[in-house]
């Protein structure tokens, strides 16, 4: 039953891609910026937790909220210093700003933590695999999947029921209209980036547990999540979930049945095909252009 093994592995990894894709979709919906710096923010989150645990010797229940708070503050800072001055600039500025950010964060990580791959002094979750019949599933992946689900649920509730969530949905509809109804759009942007940083931080912490914390290991995962975003469509939260799962499953099946090497670029091949068939992604908005 290799098929089930690959399928379940794909779903578990796909849950993580979906979480990362959600981080990108959130920022895109509200601010019309594609966050290419997500990968480096993941690594940053993992390194901050590592510092709290290893250097400051915080117990884990204290280290987790502290590092999440720090990464949220960093998200706020990023928004204030780099993206707010660029509101209204052409799309290339937004792309280059986040690419430049990713370089700066990478540089800062190399500065403070160097290039070796490290791991947490204490495991965040039991490392053994769970066995169902013939199927082995890494416990870390299961936990990651559960945490991703919890993040999804709480974010959806946040959008649905909180006031900030309502403002964010309104801003996503249109910046000018939202501003005209008295919403402080800049404030919404800040909240969005804080939430995106939170998502990235959680994702990074989980991934760091599984793949090791390094300036190269974690950004690679985000690069694989980018196609998931476009697969589902940039504006769609549902699309992020579906896209993440589909990309995860396809990658796992291709890696298992065809060629493990091929699985590295499978997401991008799928992406190119999707872009040719349905340019706006599966659930994305079809733009009507006016001159």
């Amino acid at each position: 039953m290799y098929f089930m093994q690959f399928l379940l592995n794909g779903i578990l990894i796909g849950g993580l891609y979906a979480l990362l894709a959600l981080g990108i979709v959130l920022v895109y919906k509200a601010t019309r910026v594609f966050n290419f710096a997500l990968g480096e923010m993941l690594a940053l989150g993992a390194f901050i937790l590592y510092t709290f645990m290893k250097v400051l010797h915080f117990p884990i229940w204290l280290a987790l909220p502290c590092s999440v708070a720090v990464i949220m503050l960093i998200g706020l800072g990023i928004e204030r210093c780099t993206l707010r001055p660029l509101i209204g600039q052409p799309i290339l500025s937004a792309i280059m700003a986040t690419l430049a950010l990713s370089l700066m964060i990478r540089g800062a990580i190399l500065f403070f933590w160097g290039s070796p791959i490290v791991s947490y002094p204490q495991r965040l979750m039991p490392a053994r695999a769970t066995v169902f019949g013939d199927i082995y599933l890494a416990n870390e992946l299961i936990w990651t999947f559960i945490v991703s689900l919890a993040c999804f649920a709480s974010l959806l509730l946040f959008f649905r029921f909180s006031k900030s969530g309502l403002f964010m949905r309104a801003t996503a509809e249109g910046h000018d209209t939202a501003q005209a109804t008295g919403i402080n759009v800049e404030h919404v942007f800040a909240v969005t980036w804080a939430i995106a940083a939170l998502v990235a931080g959680i994702g990074g912490i989980m991934l760091g547990n599984r793949f090791g914390i390094g300036v190269t290991t974690l950004p690679v995962m985000a690069i694989k999540a980018f196609p998931a975003v476009l697969f589902g469509g940039l504006e769609s939260v549902t699309g992020a979930i579906v896209g993440g799962l589909v990309i995860g499953i396809i990658e796992s099946l291709v890696g298992g049945y065809i060629n493990p090497q091929l699985s590295e670029i499978t997401p991008y091949i799928v992406l190119l095909m999707i872009l040719l068939i349905r340019p706006e992604g599966l659930f994305g908005l079809r733009r009507i252009e006016r001159i």
Binding site: L99, F111, L230, L234, P279, I291
Partner: protein, 352 residues
Amino acid sequence: MYRPCGTFDQTYRQTMAIVRTRKHWVLTFLGLASLMAMPLFLSGRVLHFVNLVGISMIAAQGLNLLTGFAGQISLGQSAFMAVGAYSSAILTVHLHVPFYLAIPAASIIAGLVGVVFGAPSLRIKGFYLAMATLAAQFIIPWLVMNVRTDLTGGSSSMLVPSPRLGGLVLNTQQSIFYLIIPLACLTVFLVTNLTRSRIGRAFLSVRDNDLAAEMMGISLLRYKLLAFFICSLFAGLAGALWAYWMRAISPDQFNLMESIWFLGMIIVGGMGSVVGVAFGVVFIKLFDIVITLFSPSLTVFMSPQLAQDTAAGLSPFVFGLVILVFLILEPRGLAHRWEIAKAYFRLWPFKY
């Protein structure tokens, strides 16, 4: 174009001329002559830098045509360079084609590959297009590493023989300078002229609003693909020169980072300005050199391991910072500053 008071053009020839006055001609010839005389005076290390600038200039000017003029975003410029580098290397090593045929062939191959990855631009734009070209950035090096590794050498480096012409072997920085720099000058000249032609104006209108451009009779199919073709053509030329210059190529020389550097160069220089991009290339490369020269001195202040990490982190950090500062404070780039400086000296001692 901005002309000082009292300067009039009386014929179309005058209006179109790049080099306008006798002084201009003298300066142009002196500049070119001193450029060509550089290998006689400068050491190999400086020439290494000049050659690197020349190659980057070709690739960046190509990208500027695509991104600055035609408005299509490409994150795959260094992948197209890889296509050029590996095409010319395979042509030279396995088919024994002389370099003066291999370079144009490699450029055209890279151009065609660029058209393939640019084809989605007909239906998508903005972030979607950036992602499609990002796909090229991952797929092309992967193909090099995993398909026909007997030809490409896989992930290890592939050795390329120095170009030879009769008894002349271009195996030093001094000699290959005379291959790279004339081609770089030619590229700048061609790009300058292209942007003033029908094609260049079509690119500009596609950039400003592609729907409106199409309604005015500009074929988007032709001009978008043409933009991708020319951009990748220059990338392929740069890649082929890179292969002959480095004499050992490997897929990790053509990574995403390099593509971001090229975008950074055109942003720092000023998008849609040929002179600006020339400034941007020199500026970024100089910056890189300064950091590389500066970082060994860090060992004075800290332990060698720490200094090594700091030096490794310094380059991406500073580069990212430079791009951000230019994006926020001077989005029109060095080209704009250059215009201001020129106007100042032209009008001096008056303010305007």
